[in-house]
Symmetry: C2
Amino acid sequence: MNNFNFYNPVSIIFGKNTIAELSKHLPQDAKILFLYGGGSIKRNGVYEQVAKALKGFDYIEFSGIEPNPSYETMMEAYEIAKREGITFLLPVGGGSVIDGTKFLAAALCLPEGVEPWGILQGTVEVKQAMPLGCVLTLPATGSEMNGNSVVSRKSTHEKLSFGSPFVMPKFSILDPEVCFSLPDRQIANGIVDAFVHVMEQYLTIPNNTPLQDLWAEGVLRVLIDSAPVVMNEHQNYDAMANFMWSATMALNGIISRGAIEDWSTHVIGHELTALYGIDHARTLAMVLPGNMNVRRTVKGDKILQYGERIWGISKGSKDERIDATIAKTVEFFESLGVPTRLSAYDLKKDTCEKVAQRLAARGVVHFGEAGDITPEVVEKILANRL
Amino acid sequence: MNNFNFYNPVSIIFGKNTIAELSKHLPQDAKILFLYGGGSIKRNGVYEQVAKALKGFDYIEFSGIEPNPSYETMMEAYEIAKREGITFLLPVGGGSVIDGTKFLAAALCLPEGVEPWGILQGTVEVKQAMPLGCVLTLPATGSEMNGNSVVSRKSTHEKLSFGSPFVMPKFSILDPEVCFSLPDRQIANGIVDAFVHVMEQYLTIPNNTPLQDLWAEGVLRVLIDSAPVVMNEHQNYDAMANFMWSATMALNGIISRGAIEDWSTHVIGHELTALYGIDHARTLAMVLPGNMNVRRTVKGDKILQYGERIWGISKGSKDERIDATIAKTVEFFESLGVPTRLSAYDLKKDTCEKVAQRLAARGVVHFGEAGDITPEVVEKILANRL
């Protein structure tokens, strides 16, 4: 087990009718910016619940944060927040709204004259941020309980991330009932996203972390078991609650402490979103099986453990078991209606080269848990999923 | 799953040589009280490491905090802390030193004239506390990552507890190497203590918490697997690290969110410690099997799940499986040299009555996860372990 730090001060408020508690968690004297996305919260009643809880508070709204939140949109929010003297940020939505708000929170506290895009390029250090508190409406990214953020720049087709403890939410409200009205596609994406978050932290190289392994496997098990129920019965509270809590636990840092992490599926997937606008989770569903296949030497021991403990695969040669485990993983994603091949998006061999070249151009040339992913390996991983 | 809150802002620093990082986490201008127990830290090198890290800080020492920290001792520390203008508390030790310090932290911030014992009696509300940061030397209680504290009053033979988010440590440093020199008895006690902490939160009534169940079972599994290794090879870093991390995860709140908790084994066990001075963990090892046996109706479903998933017991009638599961639990505790019967301490039938009467006298007459434990049931539970 590697040495590690763990610090996660996010206050979670979980359960039925918890949005009504929002006012208890907001600073009384704050000037609040209530941020949301495309308006689905107006159709499912969440907007009303939040507005009711905000009665008596001084707040303004900012809507229109898109999936894969853009730098351009968040800089509009930045101007408004500066002009209006905002002191607290309240994102209400899924990972995109929360991620965009985290970037905004950090940008608002930069010294005068520093270009906020540097936060994402890694050239500007985040030393403080405006406080934020979330109302989560879509279980998927885990953004509600971590300090990570991914933001895209439309003008350059770049999708970059940053992380800082300063942008961890002060609180996050998780009411599984607000997910009842989610479209199938978003639920399926959320399940895949959370699943792959676990895999990035778990399906790497054994490092004497038995508890972390069992906890990661626990999240995978609950996601797999909840998946058919939440897909078929959106209003099943028990299944939705378990899915929602698992998605949060998938990426709050606890399952990876002392373990070796990968994140290469995300690095490659982000390029597919940046280039073709494919849903984040759907890029992961394509890349992960290719990653497992091509990098079966690096990941072999953990693939066998995952295959046996999660899918009951214990017979056959090592390669046969790895093949069967990848097949089961693909089958799970496909059972949710999530494609696992590039052909589903009419993408061909040139995409594999293009993605490898884009990463190489940014200097991303030796990544993954063993530093073994060169541009050539990126091409192979994607070519495996044509 | 019940609605729940989760908030745990303790910063964990885990791994080899991490005590050297202590100075980074202490407030520069603090007047520090460095608290410890009976002096074992002077024999195992921890005292030296801490003193070295404290170089340049303004601090004084307070030693002599006993196992089952006493109100009387902590009030001595209270007088010193008041007199010396202490602003930060640094407990270095196991759960007793940390628990005692938490009480002190809360006591030091009470309004003038309020009797600190009220904190433990539940008549005084904790609204603030002096900040504390820990160096843990004994994996067991989980006190390093929660807001719980148990303190005994020698003069009245009372052992009472309180909990408050205000007494959660600002940080806790966990270096598994400092455990290498622990005596067998303390390691065995620590394993049993952590194990029973999980059971109090897990072995209750099913409540649609599959992830929490799997995580609880994960902690039990790692404790069981680490136990023979740490008992036989105190210097096995990997096993000690896994034991240490599991003991912390056993009681930081995460495995019980939304679940139904019990804690009756602790309530009964505390009386045995208060009356006869038996080690805390050793009281739990006696009470838990009796609790499982006598309350097999309330706990039946979860005992079967635990028996099957942890001990592989899946054959026989319900009662046969429950009996076999209790036998396995007893065998595990005994394998660590921890007795599971009152006779090991020469305690007889009158003890069962006495404990029931003491609890009844304090109004503790309907407790446990189903409120089903009356004084009569307390007697039965203990009589089952004569």
